[in-house]
Subunit: 356 residues, 2 copies
């Protein structure tokens, strides 16, 4: 299956010793590619959501450490300075987003590589880090294909799928989590249509889903976030597929704000609600009460696309980036290791590999 | 109570033989007042949502017929021509919006006045129509105050109220339906804060609620539509108050799209969900299956404030203006005649006066 799947859209990749990404903030109107080996520039791109989506953030952070390690090694620093500087950079990248678990998972992996390679010379350590980052990228692509195959098996022929935010190719190294499910089910002739919410405040649905799916010929219809109940009541939705930024050991799903309300509407209408995420998203270490929900700049709500003011400029605003969907609202969790069913506390423990 | 309530914000009023309104499309940035006795101009303002909110539409339509009748009478036409032309104009206004029941209720009242006054001379008939329209306007203001008193009695001290779309002063002749509840409860010291959704696609929450409530010193916090579940889960909401464009005999509430999802979230969290609407909103004649949900211009979704394109210009869109909230999700319906409890099929029949 993976061989047959063309990799048309990528969010982050490795090129010539640098981490590269599409600046998703400019989509769907301009396709701007950026590359760097400067971790501060990369951190800004993650904070500013040029790169977004938990798996893409994880891959980008790992590649960013790798690019920085290479540039350090090329400059000929000593191993102790190399180690201190790379650890500092891991720290900087660690603090870019507080909720996406894959970020911590990927950075922990490269950090472990660094610490395990302590006795080697700088060039060899740098190469180990690059190899680790590239294997995180490769694993992401492979995991997505496997999630896609598992997820597509849940879809009946002639289905309309509803999704929220972008868990597509632009949220991963490629294909996407939900994106892989949609692409594979589409190639299998199972999907008639994809409905995406626009996903305020940053409009990932309107900007990114519409762009990446229509680019590949998959029919996509756009609605505002508050129309989900309406379309479900009119029997226009057969299944919901969303991504996750973190899944706790109890099976709580932390994902883009609005996911919870969609899950409630799906429950009301008996529509299956599927979460698609790699096992690197599963956080067995913390309970739901310990998860920090990122509160972002109020101007993301007061303005649209950082440009058009839609309200009075000083109105108080709440702007949580994520919300929490309770386990009882989730039909299944689709991972690269298979489809998990309730009780999730058990099924998650069996597949989880993520250690931070 | 009515005497004490200052009428600070009005959506529609009568001035010097004309119907006047605030062009709500220009809010919150510009306060543009328009007046006319040309029913075609008024119809355009209703279709274009310069005037919106079911009660405001009803009052405006009645005043529009009155203004036109006056101009006809002033021009000295014969009674038969007068009658034909006024009936034509009622027809034009009738077709402006398909869902708001108050529109049909108000136009039916002026039509009845016209038909009952058939034997009178033109000036007298015009005066009867003007009087009828002015009494519709006056009744709206009085009904709002009564709804406000009833609704405020449901609110505990220290409450945060969540609302959706604008059912405030700008949706009525003045005070609002939900707006009257909020204003009266605020003056009683019961309300700590109002949370409003932004209400995509036309952003009545971000533009109109923020403007009219902060103008009167009522603290208002803005969220996107998809954050309602988040704020409820964080126990930040004590009660939901929304308006209605139509209430069917079974108790189905047709209101701004998104209302249904808020009701589902409120149910999940045991938060009371109140609908505030005058009895002229109650439609005993049709069942829920007969109600037409208005589908509006796709560019309202593709663009923000008719200005900023947020997606690819040709993406397919759904744009229902309203959705349907089931009776089991509604705690009470607050009318000017009192608070209605389930089963609504019974309680609605007792208070309904609206005949179309």
């Amino acid at each position: 299956m993976a061989d047959e799947m063309p990799l048309i859209t990528r969010a982050v990749w490795w090129s010539d010793g640098e981490v590269c990404w599409i600046n998703t903030k400019e989509l769907p109107f301009r396709e701007v590619v950026r590359c760097t080996n400067d971790p501060v520039e990369l951190a800004k791109a993650i904070v500013g959501m040029e790169i977004r989506g938990a798996p893409a953030i994880g891959v980008a952070a790992a590649l960013g450490v790798a690019a920085y390690s290479k540039s350090l090694a090329d400059s000929g620093v000593e191993i102790s300075e190399f180690r201190d500087k790379v650890l500092d950079v891991i720290e900087v990248l660690w603090k870019t987003r507080p909720t996406a678990y894959n970020l911590f998972w990927a950075l922990s992996k490269v950090k472990k590589t660094l610490l395990n390679s302590y006795t080697m010379d700088v060039v060899r350590v740098a190469n180990e880090i690059i190899n680790e980052a590239l294997s995180i990228l490769k694993e992401d692509l492979e995991a997505n294909i496997r999630m896609g195959i598992h997820g597509a098996s849940l879809i009946n022929y002639g289905s309309t799928i509803l999704t929220h935010c972008n868990a597509g190719a632009l949220a991963t190294a490629g294909y996407g989590t939900v994106g892989a499910v949609v692409r594979i089910a589409w190639r299998q002739g199972k999907i008639t249509k994809l409905i995406t919410t626009e996903t305020r405040p940053l409009l990932q649905g309107a900007r990114l889903n519409v762009w990446e799916y229509s680019k590949e010929g998959i029919p996509v219809t756009l609605i505002t976030d508050n129309m989900v109940g309406y379309v479900m009541k009119r029997n226009l939705v057969d299944a919901v597929f969303v991504g996750a930024d973190r899944i706790t050991r109890e099976g709580f799903v932390i994902n883009k704000v609005g996911t919870y309300m969609i899950a409630l509407a799906a429950k009301r209408h008996g529509i299956p609600f599927y979460v698609v995420a790699p096992t690197s998203t599963i956080d067995l270490s913390s309970s739901i009460n310990e998860v920090v929900i990122e509160e972002r700049d109020p101007d993301e709500v007061r303005k649209v696309m950082n440009e058009l003011l839609i309200t009075l400029p000083d109105v108080p605003v709440m702007n949580p980036a994520f919300d929490v969907t309770d386990p009882d609202l989730v039909t299944c969790i689709v991972t690269e290791k298979g489809i998990l069913s309730p009780p999730f506390e058990e099924s998650l423990r069996k597949v989880s590999v993520a250690k931070v």
